[in-house]
Point group: C2
Chain length 457, copies 2
């Protein structure tokens, strides 16, 4: 009977061996990346805080510094990057007996983990923002937000596309793509800045957030339409209708259904007796909505934002906010550092002759990107005394959404390197310029005092 | 000039396309997995809590139920599993336009992410346990813990190896491997149970934790030695000496140095003004130590445990404990569910004739595993009135450490399927049996009252 206890020797699959030996290395790579991310985010955030700029800008700059543009400490896989240029992978090779064949697979696996953690970061950020928003206030500013969003999509798209075709003789399809890349505001960055200057629940803040949410939905529809146009040369009407209907149905439906289910949620949480009953129940709700939003071709962040909005109506809102705080502190910096690290600002260098063309196109796109959103502030109606400049500025940053456009356009082969670079430059500048100007547009002595008090706690 | 804006069309690498289209699917898979994990952990935990068993046992059982043994909802890649048998992947295919070629890569990527999240879970669990431990008390029980650890490694290893060779005529190398798999106690499971019954800081709890930490170090040395023996037929003395020295130097060194650096840590945290200053600083410290422990061939959890022990001496301990709580609530269930989900209990089925042989060997290993740790309680000296039975039982669960042995043994080809199955059965039973008996051994009416009070908060 026991004679076969030894018989399977050397007949096991090699795959399991590779996985078993590489897994600790992937973990080591993730731990090292997280240390770099946290150290970078704190240094960047604190430096910006000292010179009265929003810490989130410092986190983005720290991401650029440690990323592909400068020190190559935290880099992500690309056509030209297999891990050999990553300082983290080099350090990992120096400190562990990693085989040269494993470098690329370990690099890709740890980058995938960091990417997903970054995406969980923006999902949790939007959940927190939803939780801190006031749905009634958001619905009250709905008409204004809708106008701001529609104008903020239509103006930059039309001017950008027409300008590229007429002024720069860009072919129609890439021109439409670049125009579309000008449309979507980054909720994440604006909302973080608004939260930092305590303006998230102001009328202006609510209009900006509401418009940015709608804008994101419109932007995703535009992206889907343009990407399909780029792929097939035609626009599929059925697909466009599907996207519009599903986005509207999802947002309205999840918030309406969620509000009905709040008493059920509270009864379940009250009935649970083990640790983390409130937090885990809330995360289940947020992740389900994020999953649904993701699979119906929208963005996961819309789902978690809707979940936050719904749970903001719960009696346990304060308790939940307190528990989400450390989780957001842990996840959100991963997102901002990753956005910065992925962005290659070397295409900005004006001393390299090949960059000149891209720089001119970029300047044009940047001007349209800023103008096209600033005018949205003028369209706000029925709100006497509202800070129109702040609303316009609040809509400017493109951030991660703009980067998604650039990535999809680059991957589909529609965008040339220089046009792609021009879009990235536009995204970087809008993202980096908006926060300080937004802070400026809102500046009141009392607000500043509150922030210093808040942050020194 | 702008004529080349269109020239790169269709010349972009395909790699970028695959990555760009698959990333949202990986995120969707991770979100779905997390929802399944959280729902399972809450159902299992709450059911066990209702019948007065530790919730962690319920989380493990829930993991088994949703894992490879029963419903195949959450499964991990293996030689026979490419994602086609995963309910989560099937659901993902039903709800999104995932191409059949992408299924395996998306499955592997999302499994990798969940695996790393599970490892971060046990790292954070050990950090929290370190933070709640009392280093002075742990040093005070040092001599007792050392004796318990050494006996708890020597007895099961000797009896297991000798018994397999003499009673079952197992060849020497696999017998030594199986004997070694009997040695290492799972800190995670025991510590979680001890925390639940408020015995973490009792003398018994401190001896168990201290012994389990040493035990883990000894177990990893044994594993390294045995794995090297299995690979090369010889034991490398230099490697053994390196492992022993590095483990001792790491633990003593990091704790000694860490205690010296506590004032520096507090000064840095006091100087930071942006959100999350305490939590992020603590995580940086914990992840650096975990990384160092990982790359010097120890386990990452030893590093985070040492970090927790050190920070427990900080003046900000209470504040940090409060902030770690929700993070542990979010990450730790991923670890316990993943351990359960990976374990294939179908090898337990006594109605399948092929399992009989493994079951007999398993019964023998289980008996040695329990006996070999129970005797450790008798070796505690100089502690009158100590609960020797509780210490012995506390050392029984093998959990994730035993599963690492089984995985390495299986991958290296040393273990036959039946001996591998026998080790897994031993791991499952010790893991599942220890928590209720540990609770029983500690049972006092007051303790039970405290728990119900604690958990109903």
């Amino acid at each position: 009977m026991p004679s076969d206890l030894f018989s399977h020797r050397l007949t096991q699959p090699l795959l399991a061996t590779v996985a078993a030996t590489d897994t600790p290395l992937v973990l080591a790579g993730v731990l090292l990346s997280l240390v770099v991310i946290y150290v970078g985010s704190k240094i960047g955030g604190e430096l910006c805080d000292r010179i009265n700029l929003p810490p989130v800008l410092g986190e983005l700059v720290a991401g650029v510094v440690i990323g592909v543009s400068a020190f190559d400490i935290l880099v992500f896989p690309s056509a030209t990057e297999d891990g050999s240029g990553s300082v983290i992978m080099t350090l990992l090779q120096l400190t562990s007996n990693i085989s040269p064949e494993s470098v690329t697979s370990v690099f890709e696996a740890q980058s995938e983990v960091i990417s997903v953690l970054a995406e969980l970061g923006v999902i949790i950020l939007l959940f927190e923002i939803g939780l801190e928003s006031d749905l009634k206030e958001l619905l009250r500013v709905g008409p204004q937000a809708t106008v701001v969003a529609v104008v903020g999509v239509a103006v930059p798209f039309t001017l950008g596309t027409a300008g590229l075709i007429l002024l720069f003789h860009t072919p129609v399809v890439p021109a439409i793509f670049a125009g579309a890349a000008l449309t979507a505001t980054s909720i994440g960055i604006t909302a973080k800045v608004l939260a930092e200057i305590q303006q998230l629940t102001s009328r202006e803040g609510q209009i900006i957030i509401g418009a940015a949410v709608l804008d994101d939905v419109l932007g995703i529809i535009v992206l889907a339409v343009v990407a399909s146009l780029a792929r097939e040369g035609t626009v599929e009407v059925g697909n466009v209708v599907y996207l519009i209907v599903s986005a509207a149905a999802f947002l309205v439906g999840s918030i309406w259904l969620g509000r009905l289910l709040i008493p059920v949620f509270e009864t379940v949480v009250d009935g649970l007796k083990t640790r983390g009953q409130l937090l885990i129940s809330a995360l289940i709700f947020a992740f389900i909505l994020a999953y649904i939003a993701n699979v119906i071709q929208l963005e996961a962040i819309l789902g978690s934002f809707a979940a936050g909005l719904v749970l903001a109506e719960s009696q346990r809102r304060r308790e939940l906010e307190e528990q989400i705080l450390p989780i957001a502190d842990m996840f959100v910096p991963i997102f901002f550092i990753a956005v910065g690290a992925r962005t290659d600002v070397s295409v900005l260098n004006p001393f390299v002759p090949e960059n000149r063309e891209g720089l001119i196109v970029a300047s044009f796109l940047l001007a349209i990107a800023i103008f096209g959103k600033l005018v949205t502030g003028l369209t706000v109606f029925g709100q006497p005394g509202i800070n129109r400049l702040a609303i316009g500025i609040g809509m400017i940053p493109r951030g991660e959404v703009g980067l998604v456009f650039a990535a999809v356009g680059s991957a589909s082969g529609v965008l040339s390197k220089s046009l792609n670079a021009a879009i990235i430059v536009m995204v970087i500048f809008t993202t980096f310029l908006a926060p300080p100007f937004l802070r400026l547009a809102f500046t009141k002595p009392t607000a500043t005092a509150e922030i210093s008090e808040e942050s020194s706690k």
